[in-house]
Amino acid sequence: MSESFDKKSMIDEANLAYKKSEVMTENVLSYCPGCGHGTAHRLIAEVIEEGDLQDKTIGVCPVGCSVLMYNSLDIDMQQAAHGRAPAVATAVKRLMPEKFVFTYQGDGDLAAIGTAETLHACNRGENFLIVFINNAIYGMTGGQMAPTTLPGMRSSTSPHGRDTILMGNPLKMTELVAKLPGTYFVTRQSVHTPAAVRKTKKALRKAVEYQQQSKGTCFIEIVSNCPSGWKMTALQSNEWMEENMFPFYPLGDIKVPEE
């Protein structure tokens, strides 16, 4: 059946089904094997490329694992102080209103040190997109407890599991910002399966569209994994995420515009 089929001959532009976005640079991503950050970066790059927005985009990256995001995306970017990306992006967007502006922040950055900046930017309805990567841990500093660490979950600063009486409760920022009048589109997604990737990309496309219409703040949480911080293989971490993270941080739209 395959005598007439030459696989090598298929490798041709005409048969291209999927290729990494041109908006990604050639730099090797600085993330651990299997980390969802890379997939999230690539989806943002794809949406920028598809929307022909490369020259109109200004991104703001955080402090944390994604501090070096600017090495991966071939767009203009600013690197903000820890937690301050929404303040930085506020000024960028207000001074450059014709640009597509987004922040990319982890859970420590967005939900701990930057809580005030995040809530107030969302409450003012600043016209930028916030992409929030929630992997329930501080990855960059070596796996400490994050504001989103699950009850009972182990980390280097909750080595016996998060005791909510001693250490407080995990913060559901996405539900919180959805309550604010300034947010327009709030959703929680993931990037660990093809179906999840497609949904996240769809959400990103929508967010870009709403930004262009100056509808207010768009907020996309991506529940993700941290194989190194969780001390698991990439595959184990994705399974653990489905079993433990999704029940607490259920996927789906939280605030959608009335059509």
Partner: protein
Amino acid sequence: MAKIRGTIVVDIERCKGCEVCVVNCPTKTIALAKEVNSKGYHYAYEAVDDTCIGCANCAMVCPDGVITVYKKRL
């Protein structure tokens, strides 16, 4: 019905061998190589010769964007 055939090209040096593509391949075409790349990672490769359908699921979930997918209707 026309048969759809596909193939993948893996950027071996950038692959970190996380296996996310392997479990997300619907036709079980991809596996990790016994050999390692210069970083020491067992990289992903098209282990079964004629089962790829070019669905691009592997590329979509690859955190490092190392997979390019080609697809042809025969």
